[in-house]
């Protein structure tokens, strides 16, 4: 798979590039800022981009801006945003704008090559990837009346994996159950939580994340 890596800190960028090459990916371009990345995407025709959220010129949310531009100009190119912030807002902004082929992972996570490879594969398949830390932060949120207490242990597991962006099939293989079982679980969960969204659609991730964050869930 053809990949472009954008990261302004040389040390980290080289680490990611080495990892990707070792894992058999084809790193076709590297960039240190937003403009460089956009040029490389246009020239090197990658299938996916791994981009640091904070880059020159403003060192704020360049990664999210890049994701939006790439998704608009090159809809087939997947974008994996790396960040050091556990910020659900950023992850939600990312999938709100384009609920497919995007991912938001904490930076240290990608040094586990299995996670990196899995994330890029899922993005290439059209799925979304949300860092488990962010999902568990949202699940662990303190609530006055916890609607999640209505869920069984297994249903909570399924909900977490759905929030991470996994498809029913992926959830099934992760939990060693059949896809049918997962479908039944998700239907049950969405009913219990009162989520009005189609449990099979791409939009379900955002609905779940938003639900976990809603003021009085």
């Amino acid at each position: 798979m053809r990949i472009v890596v954008a990261e302004d800190v040389m040390l980290t960028r080289e680490g990611i590039v080495r990892l990707l090459r070792d894992a058999g990916f084809d790193v076709v371009g590297q960039a240190g800022d937003l403009d460089g990345l956009m040029r490389s995407v246009g020239l090197d025709r990658p299938e996916a981009v791994v981009v640091d959220i904070r880059m020159p010129p403003t060192h704020t949310d360049e990664g999210l801006v890049a994701a939006q531009q790439i998704r608009t100009q090159h809809p087939d190119v997947g974008v994996l945003v790396l960040s050091q912030h556990i910020e659900p807002s950023y992850a939600m902004r990312l999938i709100q704008e384009h609920p497919e082929r995007v991912g938001y992972l904490l930076k240290e996570r990608v040094f586990d090559v299995a996670i990196l490879v899995d994330a890029l594969r899922r993005i290439a398949d059209g799925e979304c990837v949300i860092d488990p830390t962010i999902v568990s932060r949202l699940l662990g949120r303190q609530r006055r009346e916890d609607p999640l207490s209505a869920l069984t242990e297994r249903e909570r597991e399924v909900l977490a994996l759905v929030a991470e962006g996994l498809s029913n099939q992926a959830v099934a293989s992760r939990l060693f159950v059949t896809e049918r079982t997962v479908e039944a679980h998700t239907k049950q969960i969405f009913e219990k939580l009162g989520l009005a969204v189609d449990p099979t659609s791409n939009r379900r991730i955002l609905a779940v994340l938003a639900f976990l964050r809603s003021p009085a869930p």
Partner: protein, 590 residues
């Protein structure tokens, strides 16, 4: 309280005698002169319309002189000037008093030429009543000298009986010592040329003034300048007509028309002078009222608007010197830049006990510095002093607030810099370390060294803990999401990781100045912390956008003390209150 304007000091004996005799003279003129002739020796006698115009001009000027005397303190010169202009105007009627006492007619002959000098002086000296530049003073004295020379020369050397062009008085000149018809004619001609030139110059300069003046100056000065133009043109036209037709006759259509224009222009000038004087008087009444209202403690900055209204210059500013700083501040304590030279603005210092207590910045042409100083007077000077002290305190307060805000801003900037350094430095290095440890562990695993693998696995876990700790530390020092995404997302993150349920409401989508967002965040964050230490079951955080203020309420926390938070909100000129169960911060955000 009724305004009380003290009666002005009369300008000596002349101040009483002159106006009274002037009015008497006017009345006598009205009764006597028009009946004395058949309309050949005076214009006023030629027709009722001419008589009305004649009286309007003369009595108007005398009346304006009286107004000056009554309504403008210490302006003896103004009174004299305007009254004399009126008297000089009537002189022409006395000259033509057929059958009148020869001394009256002879004296009137002497006085008549001075009318030109008086009116030119009058227009130039408006609105303050005194000539302001050396050039103006020079022009006035030259004109007076010319009038004096012509007057004296004709009195001594011209025998009216020998003048072929005499019309108003062909008989009496008691001052004649030697009849010199040639010199007399030369003097006549010279006077005609002077009148022509001065009349045209007056009109031209007045028009130029109207074109180049500021709108305010144009508005306030036009009652004097516009009649000035007309009068100048009429005087020039009269001289021109005489040059073409040396024998003047009130029966002639050209001469009688010119006379009417001249008379009505003079009358209009008189009205204009009256208007300006009344305006000045009104200004003093307003200021006197201000002085008497001092007991009611006027709001800071109220003096400027009162003065602006009183003087008719809407752009007028009162500013106060800030001791030891060289700066000037307005009534509310805000720093003001003084106008640069040129620009049509002038600054008049108000001095009390030898020190400058204020500067009045005003339109240079509309407001006369001397008049202004007089109008402000002793009573209002107290108001000035009062407001100066207030302005000084307010300015110091502003400086203090600004320095407080700067301290907070510097602190925030420093925190932000630290966060960025952590992100780009320590966090990256620990990430790299964690990566290397992982590679080493994988190597040890494949080399079949279980001890080393265990050691490296433990080290990896340590590195991950360091990564988490650094992340928390960086977020605690300065939450990047606050600067990048604003109050909403930052507050959500706060609630996500809070140790107790936090309900959020009314979070604004708008962005605010960094200091405002940061202050709101710090207040919410510390209030939540305090609530969790207090053992509250939950916290409600609510924000209300109220025009130019952002109101933050945290229920379930408090009562504090939160000295640090109060300081922080205070640095932005906001209000902070903490009572049991409710913390409230109002932060100006406009």
């Amino acid at each position: 309280m009724r305004p009380r304007v003290s009666p002005n000091k009369p300008a000596g004996v002349a101040g009483v005698v002159l106006p009274v005799s002037a009015v008497a003279l006017g009345i006598v003129t009205l009764l006597v002169v028009p009946r004395s002739n058949l309309g050949f020796t005076t214009h006023a006698g030629a027709s009722p319309a001419a008589a009305v115009a004649d009286l309007a001009a003369g009595l108007g000027l005398i009346g304006a002189g009286l107004a000056v005397w009554l309504l403008r303190p210490g302006s003896g010169s103004g009174l004299l000037l305007v009254s004399l202009a009126g008297l000089a105007w009537f002189a022409a009627d006395w000259v033509g008093w057929e059958g009148g006492p020869p001394i009256t007619r002879s004296l009137a002959m002497v006085v008549a030429p001075f009318f030109l000098a008086f009116v030119v002086h009058l227009v130039m000296a408006s609105p303050g009543g005194r000539l302001r530049s050396r050039r103006q003073r020079l022009a006035a004295s030259a004109l007076y000298s010319a009038a004096a020379i012509v007057s004296a020369g004709r009195a001594l050397l011209r025998d009216p009986f020998l003048d072929p062009n005499c019309w108003s008085n062909c008989r009496d000149n008691l001052f004649l010592i030697s009849a010199q018809p040639g010199i007399a004619r030369a003097l006549d001609l010279m006077w005609l040329l002077v009148s022509l030139t001065v009349g045209l110059l007056l009109a031209a300069l007045a028009i130029r003034y109207l074109i180049s003046a500021t709108p305010t100056a144009r508005l306030t000065m036009s009652p004097i300048v516009v009649p000035g133009v007309l009068l100048g043109l009429a005087i020039a036209a009269h001289a021109l007509a005489l040059l073409r037709q040396p024998l003047e006759s009130p029966q002639d259509a050209v001469f009688s028309t010119i006379f009417q224009v001249r008379a009505w222009a003079a009358a209009a000038l008189a009205v204009g002078v009256g208007l300006v004087v009344v305006r000045g008087w009104r200004a003093r009444v307003i200021l006197a009222r201000l002085a008497s209202d001092l007991g009611e403690a006027p709001a800071p900055g109220s003096l400027g608007p009162v003065l602006a209204r009183a003087t008719g210059d809407p752009g007028l500013l009162v500013v106060y010197p800030l001791p030891g700083s060289g700066r000037y501040v307005d009534g509310s304590g805000a720093t003001v830049d003084l106008p640069t030279a040129g620009g049509g603005r002038a600054a008049t210092p108000i001095v009390r006990h030898g020190t400058e207590v204020a500067l009045v910045v005003h339109d240079a042409a509309t407001v006369d510095s001397e008049q202004l100083r007089m109008q402000i007077g002793a009573a209002a000077r107290l108001a000035v002093e009062n407001e100066r002290l207030q302005a000084e305190v307010l300015a110091q307060l502003k400086d203090l607030r600004a320095s407080r805000a700067r301290v907070v801003e510097v602190g925030d900037a420093e925190r932000r810099r630290l966060e960025r350094n952590l992100h780009d430095g320590a966090q990256q290095h620990v990430l790299a370390l964690s990566y290397d440890l992982r590679l080493a562990r994988v190597g040890a695993e494949s080399a079949g060294s279980p001890e080393l693998t265990a050691l490296l696995t433990a080290a990896e876990a340590e590195a991950q803990t360091a990564i988490d700790d650094l992340r928390e530390l960086a977020h605690g020092i300065y939450p990047a999401v606050l600067t990048e995404a604003g109050i909403g997302p930052a507050f959500w993150t706060l609630a996500d990781s809070a140790p107790l349920p936090v309900e959020l409401g009314g979070l604004p989508d708008d962005r605010f100045p960094e200091a405002v967002e940061r202050t709101a965040f710090v207040v919410a964050s510390e209030a939540i912390d305090a609530a969790s230490h207090l053992g509250s079951t939950h916290v409600e955080v609510r924000m209300i956008r109220d025009d130019d203020r952002l109101v933050l309420e945290v229920r379930g926390a408090g009562p504090g003390p939160f000295v640090h938070l109060a300081d922080r909100v205070g640095a932005l000129e906001g209000q902070f209150t903490a009572e049991a169960g409710l913390i409230r911060a109002e932060i100006p955000c406009a």
